[in-house]
């Protein structure tokens, strides 16, 4: 009897902790993905070999080690983490930012424009481009916040609309850039690139770049704003209960607009880093890069906390880097998209846990009353 009670309190604790539930959800996503791979007659072990290689650089099949894979995983994680912050920052203020993709695209576009046309001064050039990317991201996100706060336009609808406006606007702008063909522009000058010689030699010529520093800085900034400033407190209060926040004198309209602007700046930064870090030329986008959409999943897995979102971003970066390796082992790389989608679906189903816990405590109460 006692052991039963202890077990029950353990389940309560497990299901009550956000972090533990996230881990559970991710494991469940991988489990279903593995079963799917096995069901279509492929060997799931190959999927995990690819994931191990993208995580540690170790190739199980031939025993060789290549640290480049670690560098690429870290590099892929950067935009996931930053787009995750874009979603998370808005979510803390009670907003659902599906617009990370659009803010990312605008950041990418402005970074490409400044990267190609900006001043060829070492140091200043890329900083200016990154700053521009953050500013346009903030404008793109802030616009949504303004529409929401002033006109009560649902941010879900307006962000989806702005995603596509951003995509086609980006095409219009990038097609005017020097050397533009239907899919790429001319190469950037050296001063615009984010490449980092130290990372490059450490990780055997991976694409890992200065964007990594910017990401680490963002983690600290996110944590600091959220947990340590009046602004963050007001945002979180707005997210918990908008009416209560208004009554206690928190400027709710301003809070909403500012939170969306900061959220947009994170996604814009991600766009700038991808534009100048992972490519040597500007791209004329034919479709979405999907970092912004996946940022939603990253933030949900990370429970909107700084550290959680960072860890979830690394997970997604690892999966993205594993895609090519999986394809080489006859595992369709789309299994990673399926796993990511499953994770988000399972997070939506989390609300079932609350129903289950309520049902159980009710039953326990009934038992106690009957025992008396």
């Amino acid at each position: 009897m006692r052991s039963l009670e202890r077990r029950e309190s353990f389940t309560n604790r497990l299901l009550g902790s956000d972090g533990a539930v996230s881990v559970l959800v991710v494991l469940l996503g991988f489990l279903v993905g593995t079963i799917l791979v096995w069901m279509v007659g492929k060997n799931p072990l190959n999927m995990y070999k690819a994931i191990l290689q993208s995580l540690s650089g170790y190739n199980v099949d031939n025993g060789k080690m290549n640290v480049r894979y670690i560098g690429e995983t870290l590099n892929y994680a950067v935009p996931f983490i930053l787009c995750g912050f874009s979603m998370a920052f808005a979510a803390r203020a009670g907003l659902f930012n599906i617009g990370g993709e659009g803010q990312y695209i605008m950041g990418l576009t402005v970074a490409q424009v400044i990267g190609l046309l900006g001043p060829n001064v070492a140091g200043l050039h890329w900083m200016l481009a990154i700053l521009g990317a953050m500013c346009i991201g903030a404008v793109w996100g802030g616009l949504v916040g303004l529409l929401k706060a002033k006109f009560e336009v649902s941010e879900v609808v307006s962000t989806i609309m702005l995603n596509y406006v951003a995509l086609y606007l980006s095409r219009i702008i990038c097609l005017q850039l020097p050397g533009a063909t239907t899919y790429k522009t001319a190469n950037y000058p050296e001063t615009a690139l984010l490449s980092n010689g130290l990372f490059r030699s450490l990780t055997n010529n991976s694409m890992l770049n200065n964007g990594f520093y910017l990401m680490l800085l963002s983690v600290v900034v996110y944590w600091f704003i959220m947990e340590k400033t009046n602004l963050g407190f007001g945002l979180r209060a707005t997210g918990f209960n908008r009416e209560a926040a208004r009554c206690s004198g928190i400027p709710v309209v301003k809070s909403i607009a500012i939170s969306m602007a900061i959220a947009g700046a994170f996604a814009g930064l991600a766009g700038g880093i991808v534009a100048l870090g992972s490519f040597r030329y500007g791209r004329v986008l034919a479709g979405m890069d999907n970092y912004g959409f996946n940022g939603i999943a990253v933030a949900l897995v990370g429970n909107n906390t700084a550290i959680g979102t960072m860890l979830a971003g690394f997970l997604f970066g690892m999966l993205k880097n594993a895609q090519a390796l999986m394809q080489g082992k006859q595992i369709p790389k789309e299994i990673t998209f399926i796993i990511q989608g499953l994770i988000v679906v399972f997070i939506a189903l989390r609300s079932a846990i609350a129903i289950y816990l309520a049902w159980r405590s009710k039953r326990q109460l009934q038992k106690e009353v009957l025992a008396k």
Binding site: L36, V40, F96, I98, L147, F151, E152, V153, S154, V156, V157, S158, I160, M161, L162, N163, Y164, V165, Y168, L169, R171, I172, L175, A286, G287, N290, F293, N294, I296, A297, L300, P332, E334, I335, T336, F337, I338, I339, Q340, G341, L342, I343, V344, V345, F346, I347, A348, L349, R350, S351, A352, A354, I355
Partner: protein, 302 residues
């Protein structure tokens, strides 16, 4: 003028799937469940229809193959929307999160299926798509008309439709007079999945010869926009779908008009989204959305 009349068939071809999906989205939102998974469900329907058609065509099935694959696409769309239904109706999940999840899942599932069935990141090309009638109009246009009229009749002329709308406006009141809110919402969400899947099939069988990751390209989101721009009414949604579909068509056929060639085609692609944004701002203040839209219904709590 003649070129304008000549454009009508291709405009109808592009409008029909958007309209069918938008009607599905409208039905779902009228019952109180927001379905932003329309985009993904269209993709799943399109991929299922394209795969089914290729396989049945090579098995020697002629014209019936097209209609059969449309039905298969619709049913598979409905099956995937069941995930959203369970999450939103039984488990009180956040409807935006579960819709986003299905959209992400659809990206993977469709191409994964193509990799398994055809060992490529797209379905194999089929030889013959849907054929036009004597006027050069695809049957999908007639399907769309039937869907709109049927939805209008059921929603506004039958007791069931009134019950459905009541569930979206005030589920507690509906429940108190003996309407089964959960059952009605299930029917609404599943029919939105059915229609989105059907529309996906319509796109793939009329506009291309195979399913790729670019086949849907945001048209599910355009349908979602048409629902809010059309103010959740069949007439409004039809008008919105026509407006947006025509803008999309112009992006493709603008090359026929020297006067329009100076504009980048992307301008027409942007139009539906910008119009929706402006409309949302202009019509703000008055709320036309069903009052309980997007809110989970918990019995007893109010």
């Amino acid at each position: 003028m003649n070129t304008l009349i000549g454009m009508i068939p291709s405009v109808l071809m592009i409008v029909s799937p958007i309209l069918i999906t938008a009607v599905g989205g409208m039905i779902s939102e009228k019952s109180g469940v927001v379905n932003i998974a329309l985009e993904g469900l269209m993709g799943i329907g399109a991929c299922a229809a394209a795969s089914a058609h290729v396989l049945m065509e090579s098995a020697g099935l002629g014209m019936p193959s097209i209609w059969l694959s449309l039905a298969i696409g619709a049913l598979i769309g409905a099956a995937f929307s069941a995930i959203h239904a369970v999450a939103a109706i039984n488990l009180n999940a956040d409807q935006t999160i579960s819709g986003t999840g299905i959209n992400l899942l659809a990206d993977g599932v469709t191409i994964f299926a193509a990799q398994i069935l055809f060992s490529a990141d797209r379905t194999r090309e089929f030889k013959m798509g849907m054929q036009t009638d004597k006027l050069g109009i695809y049957p999908t246009a007639y399907i769309a008309v039937i869907v709109v009229l049927l939805a209008w009749f059921v929603l506004y002329k039958l007791p069931f439709g009134m019950h459905l709308r009541a569930c979206g406006e005030h589920p507690h009141a509906a429940d108190s007079v003996g309407i089964n809110v959960k059952r009605i919402r299930y029917i609404a969400v599943l029919s939105s999945g059915l229609l989105a899947g059907l529309a996906g099939g319509c796109i793939v069988l009329t506009q291309t010869i195979q399913y790729t990751s670019n086949t849907i390209n945001g048209r599910g989101f355009i349908a979602l926009a048409a629902v809010s721009f059309g103010r959740w009414r069949p007439v409004g949604v039809t008008f919105a779908a026509f407006l947006f579909g025509t803008a999309q068509a112009f992006a493709i056929i603008a090359n026929n008009f020297p006067a329009l060639r100076v504009l980048p085609t992307e301008v027409f692609n942007i139009l539906p989204y910008v119009i929706t944004l402006i409309a949302l701002v202009v019509f703000s203040g008055k709320n036309y959305a069903p009052r309980a839209n997007g809110k989970p219904y918990v019995k007893g709590a109010s």
